[in-house]
Structure formats: C-alpha cells, structure tokens
C-alpha cells in the first residue's frame, strides 16, 4: 500500500452540490452580463465624456482670443496641451489665468511653440472639483496682420494627465464688420443697448473704425 497516493474522497453529494451551485452562479452571471457590460460602458463613457473645447472670439483687428472650456474637471489633476493656429503666433504672456477654474491650479505655465503655445499645468489645490469651467484664455496674434480677413482655426493637439478629450475649435470668421465710419460704431452701440449685440462687438467695431484710414 506504500507509494499509493490517497486522494481525498469527495462525496457524491458534495460534487452535486458544487456543480449545482456553480451552474446556478454561471447562469446568473450570464443573465447579469448585459447589465455589467452596460455599466462598464457607462463608466468608461462618463470618464471619457469630458471634453476640452477651444472657443474662439475675434479680439480686434489682428487678434483672436481662444478660451479653453472644459465640460467636466472631475478627476483631472493636470494637463499638457498644445494649441496652434494657422498663421498665428502667441507668447507665454498671452495666456490668461483668469479662467473660472484656472485659479485652482498651482502651476499654469505656457511656452511658445511654432505657431502656437504649449500649456502645462499640474497639481491642483482644489482637487475634487467637479463641473464645467474654463482653464483660461489665450490671445493669438496674426503674424501677417490679417486675422480680420481670414478664418482662424485652432485645434488642441495633445492632452495628457487627465481624461479630457480635445475637440476642434469652431472656425472664427474675423472678417471686417464694416465699421469704417463713426455712425457704424454708434449703430453697433445702439444694438448693444437693444440687446442684439455684445459690448465686445462694440469694442471690435470701434477698433476697426480707429484702424480705418
């Protein structure tokens, strides 16, 4: 009898029990699988739903402001974004820290790169922030001084350190507003008073009037 390995005996009842319970669990798992998969998709979807959207507005004759709007800052602890635009240039001084949530970032630096700016930020003091906001505004200046006659397009090329998904900026048409006479400025001002124009439109109109020969 020596040398024989004595296997542990399993009672028939025990085997039946395991098989039955295991089968039940598998069947239950199968029935729950769609719900589990849906939950995973939902969680993943929610995590990747946050988008970084550059919003452009004309700022006078040779400038365009790009505000980086975030749909949700939940879970974001830093980012590295490169924003560029055709025929545009900018400097680190043109990056504003006046965004609604920019103040919560301990580091907010920018370095000029070819045709744009690279923004680096990390380590927020208000981690745990949620909701939408904007990270700040970058002012781009046209190298050829013709922003007012061309369509400006800026895209976010790189995002890291968070779950932000970059989106392309809706092109801004900075064509002349036709404000060549002072009466045009007054007309724009009256539109502002009537609620059909923004104060920025009045300023842009005035700037164009001043720049006109």
């Amino acid at each position: 009898m020596e040398g024989r390995i004595k296997r542990p005996s399993i009672k028939k009842k025990g085997i039946e029990s395991i098989t039955r319970e295991g089968g039940f669990k598998m069947r239950k798992m199968k029935s729950l699988m769609p719900i589990i998969l849906l939950s995973i998709l939902l969680v993943t979807g929610m995590a990747s739903a946050a988008t970084l959207t550059p919003v452009g507005t004309c700022n006078g004759q040779d400038k365009v402001d790009v505000t980086l709007s975030v749909s949700d800052v939940t879970g974001i602890i830093g980012y590295d974004i490169t924003v560029t635009g055709t025929g545009l240039t900018t400097t680190t001084a043109d990056v504003s820290k006046t965004g609604s949530i920019a103040a919560s970032w301990t580091v907010f630096q920018a370095q000029a790169v070819t045709g744009g700016v690279r923004i680096l930020a990390a380590g927020c003091t208000a981690c745990g922030s949620t909701g939408a906001g904007n990270l700040g505004t970058i002012t781009f200046t046209a190298t050829d001084g013709t922003v007012n006659t061309e369509t400006v397009s800026v895209t976010v090329k790189e995002v890291s350190g968070g779950t932000l998904t970059p989106a392309a900026m809706t092109p801004v048409d900075c064509s002349p507003t036709g404000c060549l006479e002072w009466t045009d400025v007054i007309t724009k001002y009256n539109a502002y008073v009537a609620g059909t124009a923004e104060w920025a439109d009045v300023i842009a109109c005035y700037n164009e009037y001043v720049a006109a020969p």
Binding site: W182, V185, I186, N190, V193, Y206
Partner: protein, 146 residues
C-alpha cells in the same frame, strides 16, 4: 374745507419735489474765453440713474470753435469717440461713455476747445442724449467769447 385744501397742496408740492429729485441730468458747462485761448468745458452728470453707458452729442459751431480733444473727469469713465478730423468737420462730438467707476455722479470729462479768431458773442454747446432715450435731462452749455 380749508384744511383739506392745505393737505392737497402739501401733497402736490411733495410730489413735485420728488419728481424733480428723480430727474437725472447731464450738463455741459458754460465757460468764457477769448479768441486764441484754449478752454476746458466740463460735462457733468448728477446721477447715473442705473445706467452703465450712454451716448451723448455736443453740437458746436466749428467756424467759431475748434475741438482739440478731451480730458478725463473724476468719474473714471471710459470714453470712445470719433476722430478729431471728423468732429471738427461735422461740428459734433458724440462719444460713447461707459461708467466704470463707483461714483454715482461727477465730472465725466472736460471738452477742450480753442476759440477761433474772429469769434464773437455766445457760442452754444447744444447737448442731447440720444441713448438711452428719455433717461437724462440734457442741459446745454455755451462758450461766452469775450
């Protein structure tokens, strides 16, 4: 009966006082000067009346006066106006004024004029406030040429 009349009169007077005190006004000053002299004419507002901006118009005789520009008043108002050449060609200065300070009233700005040679008598500075309409009483001024 007499007592009743007195009460009515008192109430009428009170209403008159209240209505006068509610009327905000923008006024151009009256200043005297001689030909060849540069004159500063104040433009004052006694109450912004809840407005954040306005558009005023000062019309003058460009044959007798030359508009040289403006100087800031004590309200810290933001002012943008037409180019000098346009102003003197039309004899009209109609800037857009933005009330940025916390002051309720004060001097919005000073208009700087040069009295042209040969000018005589009073030269009206006719003020209107096109926008907002009906909010301010516009009080015109004049330059009395000595």
């Amino acid at each position: 009966m007499l007592k009743c009349l007195k009460v009515i009169l008192f109430l009428a007077l009170l209403c008159g006082v209240v209505s006068v005190s509610e009327a905000a006004s923008i006024a151009v000053g009256s200043v005297s000067g001689s030909p060849g002299e540069t004159i500063l004419v104040p433009v004052n507002i006694d109450d912004m009346a809840g407005q954040t901006s306005c558009n005023i118009s000062v019309v003058f005789d460009s044959n007798k006066l030359k508009f040289l520009g403006r100087e800031n008043g004590n309200m810290g108002a933001g002012i943008m106006g037409p180019k000098l050449a346009d102003i003197n060609k039309r004899g009209k200065y109609n800037p857009i004024i933005s009330f940025m300070g916390e002051a309720k009233g004060g001097t919005i700005m000073y208009l700087k004029f040069a009295v042209r040679e040969g000018a005589k008598g009073d030269v009206p500075l006719t003020l209107t406030v096109p926008t907002p309409a009906g909010v301010y009483n516009a009080v015109s001024g004049k330059i009395m040429v000595r």
